[in-house]
Symmetry: C2
Subunit: 330 residues, 2 copies
């Protein structure tokens, strides 16, 4: 079913069909009707390939993430897809987790889209440079600013400080940070610096390897069994924190009575954990939505200088960080 068949059926040229469908250029009312009738009868939809080739654009955005396991990426993705869709752009996904030859995959993706959202440090730095050089429109979420691309992140330092201050108010004196920063300049690293700037030498960092429930569980078990058990465990994110809660329960420790635990992100499970998890809420949906809009600006050329934004976050105090005189429920 091509535009030629529609044209033949309607007794006009393909140019007229195109004009009618796109509303570009003038078309006589009668002609228009004939065309629409033919389109209807033949159930014609312009080939996306033809359109893209002629228009010189894909009307599609890419998104690169490590995994979709936790709720974080899914939420951001959802916000991204929603806005992209509003703007008439499809979204092509690419997960890098456990993938070999990531470079090839990214390059292939780059050939299918007008621009892409890349999470944190999922793409090796040299490749990033090459993409920038190739003129691919890029917006990074959760990484430090770099030249030639937009970056978008949510605030870490201030909320980390606020969280640390709250824990200190509980009177705790020995702390541990679970989920040590793997790469510098990423979200977790900022959280670590934030809490440390408040707690100083009273907090020690513990590496978990990955940011998963399992890793959190394992590291927390070791930590809680040790001689100098910390009074409070600040976790890099909610999933690690859920692992810590599990470890505490298995060891017969009361949370927050024996040990306090906090997370980061405010994923669904945080609210349903027992005790409910004190954490920091970040606007995941909004992050995705903004990324889509930023990309659109870059692609349409409304803007051509990279922008770098930081979205606000806020601690959500629940039960896992300690007892509160007046119950706070969120």
């Amino acid at each position: 079913m091509t535009i030629y068949e529609v044209a033949r059926r309607a007794g006009v040229s393909i140019a007229t069909v195109s004009r009618t469908l796109r509303g570009t250029g003038p078309v006589a009312a009668k002609t228009r009707e004939k065309v629409l009738k033919a389109v209807e009868e033949l159930n014609f939809t312009p080939s996306r390939l033809g359109v893209s080739l002629a228009e010189g654009r894909h009307a599609a955005n890419g998104v690169v993430f490590p995994d979709l396991a936790g709720p974080y990426y899914a939420e951001v993705l959802l916000g991204y897809e929603e806005v992209a869709s509003e703007l008439g752009r499809s979204v092509i996904i690419l997960s890098t987790k456990g993938r070999t030859r990531v470079g090839d995959l990214i390059k292939d993706l780059a050939g299918r889209v007008d621009g892409m959202l890349i999470f944190g440090h999922t793409v090796p730095e040299p490749l990033v440079a090459e993409l920038v050089r190739l003129g691919v429109r890029l917006v990074f979420v959760s990484r430090d600013p770099l030249p030639g691309a937009d970056t978008l992140r949510s605030e870490n330092t201030a909320s980390a400080r606020a969280l640390a201050a709250h824990l200190a108010d509980h009177g705790y004196e020995r702390f541990a940070f679970l989920g040590a920063p793997l790469t510098s300049h990423d979200d977790v690293d900022e959280r670590w610096r934030g809490v440390r700037s408040v707690l100083g030498g009273a907090i020690e960092a513990v590496d978990t390897g990955h940011y998963t429930v399992e890793c959190g569980h394992e590291a927390a078990t070791k930590l809680l069994k040790g001689r100098d058990r910390p009074r409070a465990i600040v976790c890099s994110d909610d999933e690690v924190a859920l692992g810590a809660l599990l470890a505490a329960e298995e060891l017969g420790l009361d949370v927050p009575g024996d040990v306090a635990v906090t997370g980061w992100d405010d994923i669904m499970a945080a609210r349903h954990a027992r005790p409910a998890l004190t954490t920091v809420r970040q606007p995941m949906r909004e992050l995705g939505a903004r990324a889509a809009r930023a990309l659109d600006e870059l692609i349409t050329g409304v803007r051509d200088t990279p922008s770098h934004h930081t979205l606000a976050t806020a601690p959500v105090i629940r039960a896992s960080c300690g007892h509160h005189p007046q119950e706070v429920r969120t």
Copy 2:
């Protein structure tokens, strides 16, 4: 950067460049080198649009889902993307939640892919028929078989019966099913029929509207406050069940002492809920992986008759359904 520039630089024709790059047809060793050198220097990558147009295929799959809020869709999507990627196909996503003009979106998607995975009943029936008529390769996940498309689902009835039997073994006599079937012939409907076939008149269905924590919470609260409080609540899925747990806690009811609760899916939060949620595990990742493979068969033409498969599921007994002499931990 087009194939013409490469050809010019290498001093050959575009046909030779194409042959060299694709390994189709013979190319003299010397010529080949010249071409590869030019390609290297110009950093040339064939335009995906050009290739697709000429090849007559997109090398891309679509996927239509309502939302990505819970872990269920994300997991299936992940399995789907992984296999699709292995098979050299990109994945274009489309969320229908809160979207108007779904028909147009789906049609646009259909024009960008060689085939698509559609969840349950996210697409109106007439449109499904039209897609089938248009020859779009389709595989449905979680819906009843229909002619002209593959369907893939996980088992519901048997596991529902097993779950119901387990609850009956606990000695309970009054039950409620939370999350009444909205459409017949879907997963939840089968679960409902399964448990009812075992519990008979002892179980009553309660509509929750949506399958979310909030809806589950609301419906459970009403139910547990009522005169004839059920002894056990079988929920349509884990999220509704989490809502029920929350409701019970707020009302000061002990789970499973006062009321037992079960879910379905075995999402991450199920294991971390307190008490840990008894549920039914379904192979979400596998569902997605199989869908991608089925689609590939359909697209490449290895198979042209629709296939309909059902994947096995199994109850996961934890703490929320009642006390067990020998603790089972999963």
